[in-house]
Amino acid sequence: MMASSYNAKEEDANHPGAANHAGVGVVKSKKPDNTAFKQQRLPAWQPILTAGTVLPAFFVIGLIFIPIGIGLYVTSNNIKEFEIDYTGANIDNPCYNCAKNFSWNSTAQCVCAVTFTLEQPFESNVFMYYGLSNFYQNHRRYVKSRDDSQLNGDRSALTNPSKECEPYRRSEGSPIAPCGAIANSLFNDTLQLYHIDSNGTLNEIPLVKKGIAWWTDKHVKFRNPGGNNNLTVAFQGTSKPVNWKKPVFELDPEDPENNGFINEDFIVWMRTAALPTFRKLYRIIQKKPSTTPTLPSGKYVLNVTYNYPVLSFDGRKRMILSTISWMGGKNPFLGIAYITVGSICFFLGVVLLIIHHKYDNRNNSADIPN
């Protein structure tokens, strides 16, 4: 505070003569500029929300939202979805035995077959999901337990994974690849779908395992160390995650483009779900070139290789078959919400119109005496 006053003073004191000569200049600089900004007179748009201006907006919103909502609702309703729980929590479930006898150490695979009937044929591409319940993929300890640079093919991270991966960082002295709790708990049930046609034979339905992960994840975010060939060498010196049955470079030995870190099942799993009940895309059933539906109505058998225990934490496993529309999977929420909001807007528009009308009359009559 003192300094600034000094400044002013020094000027005063040192140029006493200047004040007279440069008087005009000084005056000009002291007079505030007459600019719109400094005078707070910038040209401004001053909207006033009145019933008059808001009313049309309400009607417009109502008129737009209701059709959208109806569209959404119809679309959602047209999506065919079939869901079946194969956890084996109940004794009448075919997988009850597999679930009950599960042990991490057993090498023998437990397979159970779940039969179900599709009442309606599924047209166009059908998407096969597995769903888990009460599985906290969004738990903080779980979410952070990964090493993205390792997954991106970084060699130093491969041999020395991030500390975040603890306690799934090293096993028996060698680094785990891929490290961390997420990778360790990779969903490893194998699902196979058979159609039982009229004469009782089982026709395996071809399941496509590509195109289930985000393109960017598969092609940029996830990279194998040292390219895709010879993964066995690339992953040498690392050990498999403790709960895995086979190492990462044997996830899909047939297809080098789907093996190692860029295995799509693995990538899908690595995108942690938002809520404890979730579904993940497992396979795609491509529609047939002929006019026959992709999944005609009838009996089906789901063959499950039961590897994934969920009962210990009271979880559930589901298999979901669903067609997809432009808005995604079946979800009536959006349609209902749009219809509701649209109707509310429309209703409010009507109410406002009445109020506005009445109020305007009163207002006018009140204005007249003035």
Binding site: M1, M2, A3, S5, Y6, N7, A8, K9, E10, A13, V26, K30, K31, P32, K38, Q39, Q40, L42, A44, Q46, P47, L49, T50, A51, V54, A57, I61, Y129, Y136, N138, H139, R140, R146, D148, E164, P167, N184, W214, T216, D217, V220, V268, T272, A274, F278, I284, S312, D314, S325, W326, M327, G328, K330, N331, F333, L334, A337, Y338, V341, N363
Partner: protein, 1134 residues
């Protein structure tokens, strides 16, 4: 001498308390005495706070002393130490930003101070050492050095003037930089010092440094080889203050007595207590609420977490095992760290950036006041001045206005109106005046009859010409001539006057500390008696007959507000010693012969009721004996080191007795421009205007009527010495009686009104005005018994609060402050504003919540001590009604909005804990958490808080009642706060659950792929940013291009940033959480639809409220700054 020696041996401490001894030129006072050079501080000015070395620790320490910064530091430390959900960067970066910006600002300010200090400290000065002139840097000056200062140089320290190049041993000085008075002040050398400074052997004894610029006592002992030491008194007239400038004098020599930080200037710049605004108190209260919300959220989550974990299989399922360290941790410690983690996760609810934004808003916002061209006054060529930006919003909250009268309500531009000599009235008329300067009478009847004797007339006019401290202004040419040493300037004028006609009045400039004096001298000039100026100690006047009369000025008995009069003792050529005295009637009448009083009193009272300032003039002849006695008394009193004031006063009182009254003068003090309109507007805005003046009741009352503070139908309740003495009983009893009576009238019988503010002032059927004077006030405040005192005070306050305006006259400066303090601390602690222009208003300016200085004629003290300074009273209207109102609305909205936007930011994160096993998983990515308050939502609200005009300025100025809508902190009370909090909660719930239901099926893309938790957070965050920004857009009533730019710009920036942030694999990030999340989100139709739906649904109630509230008139518009209906109508009309 003996005493001094004794003092020296008695110990230094005692000496330091009383006074200090200085050897002029460091020459030991006496040869045989052991000389202990006393230690004084050097002449370095240190206004800077930091050095290069201590800047960092000291600045950091000061910054972290602020509660908010400390809180964020703690959060940051917790994040560093404990394993928390968000990285320390998220809170460290904003904190670092805030701290850095503040540190840079303070560092820059300190660098400026260093620079200014250096400039002052390194300034070259000339020191006389053993007869040689040595150039030194200013900081090397020591107490006792003899300095030489040239014309137009600033004094480097406080000096005692020893020698001047002027013949009359005076020098002229301007103190513009100290108190703003630009007139030339005369200072005198110490009498009888030797011309040869080298051989001067003297010591100076003076008081310890003290900040009062106008007080100084000291004495100088001059030792000569063969004589007894001579003693000379030193007063303020011998003291040259650091910071003032030498004028009209070639060089002077002086001895340094106070240096560096002990100079009066430095002492005056220390310590001005900081005022805090009511808005800040509200912020702190809200902060506390949010802190409670934060803690309870963390507690709820911690509790639920442990409840949930107790269920089998949930704490540690096989897929998500704990690390060894976690397993080993003690349960209670784990609970505690969990609690801390939740605190960290939710800490964003208390916005770190709010403080920065509020500071910036205040700082930048205050520029609009300085920039306002309506505040520019072409006369003084200056605009408004903002000394503190902390109180901008307080301008919109004022409930009590305390105004000074002279110079504030009135122009302090005195015009001589009439005089009364010996009971006859003389009125000066511009038209038809005899130009030869003869006295014209203006009595309604016969001229001859109404004219006093010529002798009396001339005596009166001589008195006017002599009894003052006015100086004649030197024109530049004359100054030049004098500098060249051709002729003395006053002589030059004198020659002029003798040879020719008196110079036209316009050319003659007078400088005086009080404008009354100039008016009187000018008045005398009209009647033919012209004051020509001083010639050393001789005053010259030009009489009607074009004779130059010379009077030797023997003594000036200065004016002071207690005595309320001043006198001069002069000796005429004929050898008569005369005392002329002028002063207020109350102080003159008791001192003159009573038979003279009656003739004049009537005139004086009539003049006073007309609103003029009256002065009475008296004189007396002093015979040689009387004079000798007075002279001795005055000299002795002036030499006194202690109680000089009291002793002088006693002598003055003794001398100024038994005078004879010659006449009285009436000087008009015109009302300020638009004073009445301004007062009316303030009252219309619900403010109570109190006039606090030192003037007498009649004058003040007439001013109040003229300003329309009192209307014709206003019933005046008078509580003055006069009414107290009416009853003929003891004053105390009468006071009691009157207080009770007035209380009954004004408070009890008044119709019950809700609050003074909401009452429509025009409809109040009965207006009361209250008048109290200083003496009565002190009786009310300092009543004899303690219980009475508080009771009287209460009664007094209640009466005052029910009166439209209150007039307090005959107030001492301290009493003004007392009143302000009393009102300030009364029930409901109303916001007070003081406005004044003079030094006597400083105390009340400092006391009130907001102090406003007027750049008037009484110096700059008021301006210097004020929070805001304006050139004229009329500017107060715009300052309060327009600027204050807008600032308040802006900052109130800013504060509410900040809390709101952080509540709905954090609430979804809180809700998410219920779905992620209470694991402190953040919903949003760290980048979003960090950037939300810094980048995405900060600029629109800043622009809003700088530019918003919910009602345009003209309308605010025209409708003073609008000011009441925001009175009593209307937008920051709990009601509006609750509303905003509710809104935040509603939005937060909507965002979270809207997206939650959408994620019932996470397959949201048309290729069947699913979204994960980061997509969830990004959708919520997108809705959040858009809703919060659009909510502000809804509230914006004044869309300038800046608003458009900032609002749409920050939304665009958010989108751009999200693409950018998700578009690259960032090598420095441990996890690429958001990689292409935003782009994928935009590729999903459902995400678009839900975003649009949620934004609209959030804003819907807001729009509805705006529309529904409208018909209910302006009062409903308190919660949000909605344009009241009246405004719309006004717009239509225009």
């Amino acid at each position: 001498m003996l005493r001094r020696t004794l003092n020296r041996w008695l110990g230094r401490d005692e000496r330091r308390v009383d006074s200090r001894s200085i050897c002029v030129g460091h020459r030991s006072s006496s040869n045989n005495e052991a000389f202990i050079p006393p230690k004084f501080c050097d002449n370095r000015i240190v206004s800077s706070k930091y050095t290069v070395w201590n800047f960092l620790p000291k600045n950091l320490f000061e910054q972290f002393r602020r509660i908010a910064n400390f809180y964020f530091l703690i959060i940051f430390l917790v994040q560093v130490i404990v394993d928390t959900p968000t990285s320390p960067v998220t809170s460290g970066l904003p904190l670092f930003f805030v701290i850095t910006v503040t540190a840079i600002k303070q560092g820059y300010e300190d660098w400026l101070r260093h620079k200014a200090d250096n400039e002052v400290n390194k300034y070259p000065v000339t020191v006389l050492e053993q007869g040689r002139r040595v150039r030194k840097e200013s900081e090397k000056i020591k107490v006792g050095d003899v300095l030489e200062v040239d014309e137009d140089e600033t004094f480097p320290c406080d000096l005692i003037l020893l020698q001047s190049s002027r013949d009359d041993d005076t020098c002229f000085v301007t103190t513009a930089s100290l108190d703003g008075e630009s007139n030339h002040k005369t200072h005198y050398t110490v009498p009888d010092t030797e011309k040869d400074l080298e051989s001067l052997n003297a010591t100076i004894e003076c008081e310890q440094p003290q900040p009062d610029l106008y007080k100084f006592v000291g004495r100088m002992h001059i030792y000569k080889a063969d004589q007894e030491p001579a003693v000379r008194s030193l007063g303020p007239e011998n003291l040259l203050l650091k910071g003032s400038t030498l004028k009209n004098t070639q060089t002077i020599c002086g001895v340094a007595i106070y240096t560096g930080m002990e100079t009066k200037m430095a002492l005056n710049y220390q310590g001005k207590s900081q005022k805090r605004s009511a808005v800040e108190k509200s912020i702190n209260a809200f902060l506390l609420v949010y802190l409670c919300i934060l803690v309870s959220k963390a507690l709820v989550c911690t509790t639920l977490k442990y409840v949930w974990q107790n269920k089998p299989g949930q704490d540690e399922p096989w897929y998500n095992e704990k690390t060894q360290r976690e397993k080993d941790t003690n349960l209670y410690l784990k609970m505690f760290t969990d609690f801390l983690s939740f605190m960290v996760l939710f800490n964003f609810i208390i916005p770190v950036s709010m403080y920065v934004t509020v500071e910036m808003q205040k700082f930048l916002g205050s520029f609009f006041i300085t920039w306002d061209k309506d505040f520019f006054d072409p006369e003084i060529k200056e605009g408004a001045l903002v000394n503190t930006s902390d109180l901008n919003e307080e301008l919109g909250q004022v409930e009590y206005v305390f105004t000074d009268k002279t110079g504030t309500l009135t122009q302090n531009n005195m015009e001589f109106i009439e005089c009364c000599i010996d009971g006859f009235q003389y009125k000066y008329q511009d038209a038809g005046t005899d130009l030869d300067g003869f006295c014209v009478t203006d009595g309604p009847a016969n001229k001859v009859q109404h004219k006093a004797g010529r002798e009396k007339e001339e005596l009166f006019l001589r008195a006017l010409c002599l009894c003052h401290t006015v100086q004649v202004k030197e024109s530049p040419e004359q100054g030049q001539g004098q500098r060249d040493g051709l002729m003395d300037q006053v002589d030059g004028l004198g020659v002029d006057g003798e040879g020719l006609h008196p110079p036209p009045q316009e050319q003659r400039g007078f400088i005086a500390s009080s404008p009354d004096e100039v008016a009187l001298v000018k008045g005398a000039m009209r009647y033919g008696f012209t004051f020509l100026g001083f010639e050393s100690k001789t005053m010259k006047i030009l009489t009607r007959d074009n004779d130059v009369e010379r009077y030797e000025l023997l003594h000036v008995l200065n004016f002071d507000p207690v005595r309320r009069r001043m006198s001069v003792i002069v000796r005429s050529k004929s050898g008569d010693t005369l005392l002329f005295c002028k002063g207020a009637d109350s102080s003159i009448f008791p001192r003159v012969r009573q038979e003279e009083v009656e003739r004049i009193r009537m005139n004086v009272e009539r003049n006073a009721t007309e609103g003029y300032r009256t002065l009475c003039v008296a004189y007396k002849y002093l015979n040689a004996e009387e004079y000798a006695q007075a002279d001795a008394g005055l000299r002795e009193a002036r030499l006194a080191l202690q109680d000089r004031e009291e002793k002088l006063m006693a002598v003055y009182n003794q001398v100024e007795t038994g005078m004879s009254l010659i006449g009285a003068t009436a000087v008009e003090d015109r009302l300020q421009e638009e004073a009445a309109e301004t007062m009316e507007a303030l009252q219309g805005a619900g403010m109570k205007v109190w006039v606090l003046t030192g003037d007498k009741m009649e004058t003040a009352k007439s001013t109040c009527y003229a300003c329309r503070l009192f209307q014709r139908n206003t019933e005046l309740l008078e509580l003055t010495v006069r009414t107290l003495e009416d009853g003929g009983r003891r004053r105390e009893e009468r006071l009691h009686e009157l207080l009770v009576e007035y209380h009954k009238k004004a408070v009890q019988d008044a119709p019950p009104v809700k609050a003074g503010v909401t009452r429509a002032w025009s409809s109040a059927n009965h207006d009361y005005g209250f008048i109290i004077d200083g003496a009565t006030l002190s009786m009310v405040l300092n009543s004899s018994s303690e219980s009475n005192s508080s009771r009287y005070k209460n009664l007094f306050l209640q009466i005052c609060q029910n009166c439209t305006s209150v007039l307090c006259c005959r107030m001492a400066p301290l009493q003004k402050a007392q009143i302000v303090k009393m009102v300030k601390n009364s029930k409901g602690s109303p916001i007070t504003l003081s406005i004044g222009d003079g030094a006597n208003d400083v105390s009340m300016i400092l006391e009130a919540h907001v102090g406003i200085g007027i750049k008037g004629k009484e110096g700059r003290q008021a301006v210097r001590n004020s929070d805001y300074a304006i050139p004229k009273l009329k500017h107060l209207k715009k300052l309060l009604l327009a600027h204050g109102h807008l600032y308040y609305v802006r900052i109130a909205h800013l504060v509410q909005y900040f809390f709101y936007k952080n509540l709905c930011f954090i609430l979804p994160q809180f809700l998410y804990q219920f779905f992620c096993g209470y694991s402190q998983q953040p919903l949003y990515d760290a980048a979003y958490l960090t950037m939300y308050n810094i980048c995405f939502t900060s600029m629109p609200i800043l622009a809003y808080s700088l530019l918003e005009q919910h009602i345009c300025m003209e309308v605010l100025l025209d409708n003073a009642t609008l000011y009441r809508g925001i009175a009593k902190n209307g937008m920051l009370r709990w009601g509006p706060f609750f509303y905003w909090t509710l809104l935040g909660v509603f939005h937060g719930l909507l965002f979270f659950f809207g997206v939650r239901y959408l994620f019932g099926n996470p397959a949201l893309q048309d290729n069947g792929q699913v979204f994960g938790n980061w997509s969830y957070g990004t959708i919520v965050f997108t809705v959040l940013v858009f809703t919060v920004t659009l909510k502000l857009a809804l509230d914006t009533r004044h869309w300038t291009w800046i608003n458009h730019f900032v609002i749409w710009g920050s939304l665009a920036f958010y989108v751009f940033f999200s693409f950018f942030w998700g578009g690259i694999i960032w090598p420095f990030l441990k996890q690429q959480r958001l990689y292409f999340v935003f782009a994928n989100m935009l590729s999903s139709v459902s995400a678009w639809l839900v975003i649009i739906l949620l934004i609209l649904l959030s804003l819907l109630p807001e729009i509805l409220l705006v529309v529904f509230r409208k018909p209910r008139g302006p009062h409903a518009g308190q919660i949000t700054p909605v344009t009241p209906l009246t405004y719309k109508h006004l717009k239509d009309r225009q």
